[in-house]
Amino acid sequence: MALLDIHALRQSFPRADGGEHLVLDGVELALTEGQIVGLLGRTGSGKSTLLRLIAGLAQPSGGSVTYLGNPVNGPAPGIAMVFQSFALFPWLTVLENVQLGLEALGLPEPEIRKRALAAIDLIGLDGYESAYPRELSGGMRQRVGFARALVVHPNILLMDEPFSALDVLTAETLRTDFLELWGEGKLPIKGVILVTHNIEEAVLMCDRILLFSTNPGRIISEIPVDLKQPRNRLDAQFHDLVEKIYVAMTARKQSPVAVADRVATIDTMLPRVSANLLSGLIETLAVAPFNGKADLPVLADELHLELDELFPVSESLQMLHFAEIEGGDIKLTDIGKQFAEFGMDDRKKLFQRQLLAYVPLATHIRRVLQERANHSAPKSRFLDELEDHMSIEDAEHTLRAVIAWGRYAEVFAYDDDSGAFSLENPS
């Protein structure tokens, strides 16, 4: 029997206009003993939501989560979680934090102490028992997070981007330590589900990787990882897998990122990427060693950007037709190359042209402003319009994104105090 069975899982929230905002749709997943399953996707792919549904911290709108044959409809014993921000209780010492879950189980005092000390020992926290979380470094804090989750001897360990708040070196140490303990069978757990947006991390740790699309979150691809532990990043096979995932995530069909495939409409969600970052990436791409074309994994490595950071930028370049993305590669268009060569004023003009040509929301705002006698319109006018098509937060984000671009391109002005768009620039 599988540890965990997820069938046709769906999660949605009511939207302002009475419709519903779909976060997760049609998720099928089975976790068997001895496996680490990775959920890989960008912000907005609902992977964290999925983790909370499994933990019983939220209730799905449809479908089922079955744990050891029983439906999950509340926090279940035997499913423990490690949090991105550690979620340690700052007023409890390391030992007290670790003991918390055992106290909730109602175990006798000596047993609680014995198990807590054993977990602290196992995870390498010896000597820190009486320290408060604020005295510890990020890596040590997350070790407490692990010890606290492991001490209740859960069957399933859920990890919500557990290494993303740590610096690169610390994260690597912690990952290696975890994999070592897991490989040696020293951890009292039977299966792991790991949420991440770091492709290399997923390939390094998981036996199976599920790729998620965004808005709504759907599983678009399942990639088995058959490499032996410990895995080596420099290994050719490792590299191929990473490349394969990039290709899958940038594929034209059913792609999570191919916004430009569908022609953008007024209600297309826009990523919040600053014009500076866009110019920066164009400049980097234009010169050596890339000379106009780059492999996304290589670029990510070079710029120390994670999936969550690189994709919105490259996607925006694609939307504005400064670059094209295909097969895990990004390539500057002629306009993109031109942009790289221009000075500041010409760049603004070019950006304005592209913005008005390919981002209908910007065009729409400008047209409304031109039509109005006083050439000004309140923010709420456009926000309401957007909220008919997306969640309130997404609408706010999208509008913020178009404001930033519109300001850079001098397509319109916006005054945050009065919340008004206008055509005049302050002079």
């Binding site: 409809n73 509340g74 926090p75 014993p77 921000s85 979620a87 209780f89 604020r134």
Partner: protein, 575 residues
């Protein structure tokens, strides 16, 4: 740490909701009920003091101890109220709709209003009469402490970090365990700060809560407050000075023995993970902790306490409940109908109470009086701002000065207006001044310090880099104030001014009337009206005065302070 603004300023989306109406009616209904009950109980209570109060300073230690004890008991009651009321409001979204506006309006009811209405009721409650009077006094002190504590706790419960909440649920903490391990610790620093404020508030009203006089009922409980009242009545300046000294000593002891250790202890509950700033120290706390006495004494209790958090085996076996489904329409409908019926009933009760005695003319009079007091509050806040904002900024940008000023200001905030009566009354009489103007400063006596506190906090929170940048660009003089200092302290100032304004309304009841021996001075205002009706024992007009004052406070909060607060938070909040 900043003061929490009242709900009518901080919270709501809509200006007034139908829940406000129900809350108003509930409170009015309750006051009316008590007033009715008191009226009938009025006669039999006349004499209760067996042993008259003496102005001999040798009695002061005993009086101080009694006052202290009352305040402690009231504090304990306030904590119980806080934990239950605020928890219910934060956890149950149906209860929340009513409880939050209720708290907001309770906060606006003048503290002395509660005393006037409830004293007779409480005295009838206890057969041993002194005990009843003690109840009344403790209840009065309670009303000066509980509301802001409850609101602070409610705010904290609403802002418990999501991931800690998820962790608590993931590890299946029981409700009881979660409350003591997550909710209370998280709320603790803010709550202790509010307890300190509450304590200052109850000192300010110490005279009124111990020397109670409603109509023919006169209660003088042995305590510092009654001592002050007697000293004023007998024009004994020495006794007034002794009282000031006694108060100073008690407040110092409170600070050193209770609050400082509490603050030092509560430092561990700070949620910010970074170890920034100097942790608060307390020698009492250090001594207690090092000696291990507390630990040894409380161990059995601590063990029992922990055992209450242990889940019962039966509870563990039970399957977790599915999340509640959305309520059916008819449940909402039914509760709306019942709320409406209750509201109608209360309206009828309240209306018939007022109809007995009060005409439209009375209402008109109180509204005019309210306007007079409003004018005073506005002018005083403006004057206090002009004085304290520059001083606060000056002090706040000098950490050493800030550390010295803080405790002094805290003492001054607790300083009862009555203690200044001798000076103020003598001056007014000697120079033949108008009480309408010259009594007013007493109103802001205790509350102006909140402006100072907050401005100091705001000025010391200006990032060093911003100040360095200002110096680097040689921004000086008026430009420095206009572009750097004033915008940076503005949100803090607004919070302080809101507290000061609410407090001044409250203080108007003791400040618009002053006496020194047989000289009695009145100003034209709503506070004096309520004080006068309390003296006469006219319950209809007391309730009317209280209702009108609450109305003024809530309306001013919602129409003036709330937009200003929202603006300040949006525009000037640093970081």
């Amino acid at each position: 740490m900043r003061v929490i603004v009242p709900i009518s300023v901080g919270g709501w989306v809509r200006l007034f909701s139908r829940w406000d109406v129900l809350a108003v009616l509930l409170i009015l209904g309750f006051l009316v009920f008590l007033a009715e009950a008191s009226r009938h109980l009025f006669e039999p209570l006349t004499e209760l003091q067996s042993q008259p109060l003496s102005l001999d300073p040798r009695n002061l230690p005993e009086y101080s101890a009694r006052t202290t004890l009352r305040m402690l008991i009231a504090m304990a009651l306030s904590l119980v109220f806080t934990f239950t009321y605020a928890t219910l409001a934060a956890r149950n979204k149906y209860a929340e709709k009513l409880l939050v506006p209720l708290l907001d309006i309770l906060q606006s009811v003048p503290i002395l209003g509660f005393i006037s209405i409830t004293v007779v009721f409480f005295m009838a409650l206890a057969p041993g009469r002194v005990l009843g009077a003690e109840f009344a006094a403790i209840f009065a002190i309670f009303t000066s402490q509980a509301w802001n504590m409850a609101f602070s706790f409610y705010q904290s419960l609403r802002t418990v970090p999501a991931e800690l909440e998820e962790a608590a649920r993931n590890f299946r903490l029981t409700t009881w365990m979660r409350f003591w391990r997550l909710d209370v610790p998280f709320a603790m620093p803010q709550l202790i700060w509010n307890m300190m404020m509450s304590m200052s508030g109850s000192w300010f009203f110490v005279v009124a809560s111990e020397a109670i006089s409603v109509g023919n009922t006169t209660v003088t409980l042995p305590g510092v407050g009654s001592y002050i009242a007697l000293a004023i009545e007998q024009r004994d300046l020495h006794a007034v000075l002794w009282a000031i000294a006694a108060m100073l000593v008690v407040i110092l002891i409170y600070d050193q023995v209770l609050f400082r250790p509490l603050v030092a202890w509560a430092d561990r509950f700070r949620f910010e993970q970074e170890a920034g700033g100097i942790p608060p120290r307390s020698w009492v706390f250090d001594v207690l902790r090092r000696s291990g006495i507390i630990e040894r004494l409380t161990r059995p209790f601590a063990e029992w306490w922990r055992s209450t958090m242990r889940p019962q085996p039966s509870a563990m076996a039970a399957p977790s409940k599915p999340a509640p489904k959305r309520r059916n329409g008819w449940v909402t409908y039914l509760s709306a109908v019942s709320a409406f019926v209750i509201a109608l009933f209360l309206l009828w009760q309240v209306a018939s109470f007022f109809m007995q005695e009060i005409g439209l003319a009375d209402v008109g009079t109180t509204l005019l009086l309210g306007l007079a007091t409003l004018a005073r509050v506005v002018v005083l806040i403006a004057i206090a701002s002009v004085i304290w904002v520059p001083i606060g900024v000056w002090v706040g940008t000098r950490p050493r000065a800030a550390n010295m000023i803080q405790p002094v200001a805290q003492f001054l905030a607790a300083f009862p207006a009555n203690l200044l009566f001798p000076i103020v009354v003598s001056i007014i009489v000697a120079w033949n001044l108008s009480p309408n103007i010259w009594l007013s400063p007493l109103m802001i006596l205790g509350t102006q310090w909140y402006i100072l506190f907050n401005v100091i906090a705001g000025a010391s929170a200006i990032p060093a880099e911003l100040r360095a940048c200002g110096a680097n660009l040689r921004v000086r003089g008026w430009l420095w104030w206009r572009r750097i200092a004033l915008p940076a302290v503005f949100p803090y100032y607004v919070t302080g001014a809101i507290t000061a304004s609410g407090g001044s309304w409250n203080a108007s009841i003791v400040a618009e009337v002053a006496s020194w021996g047989d000289v009695h001075l009145h100003a034209y205002g709503l506070g004096a009206y309520i004080a006068h009706q309390t003296d006469v024992g006219d319950f209809h007009r007391i309730v009317l005065g209280i209702a009108v004052m609450s109305l003024f406070v809530v309306v001013v909060n919602r129409t003036f302070w709330r937009p200003l607060y929202a603006y300040a938070e949006r525009k000037f909040r640093l970081g």
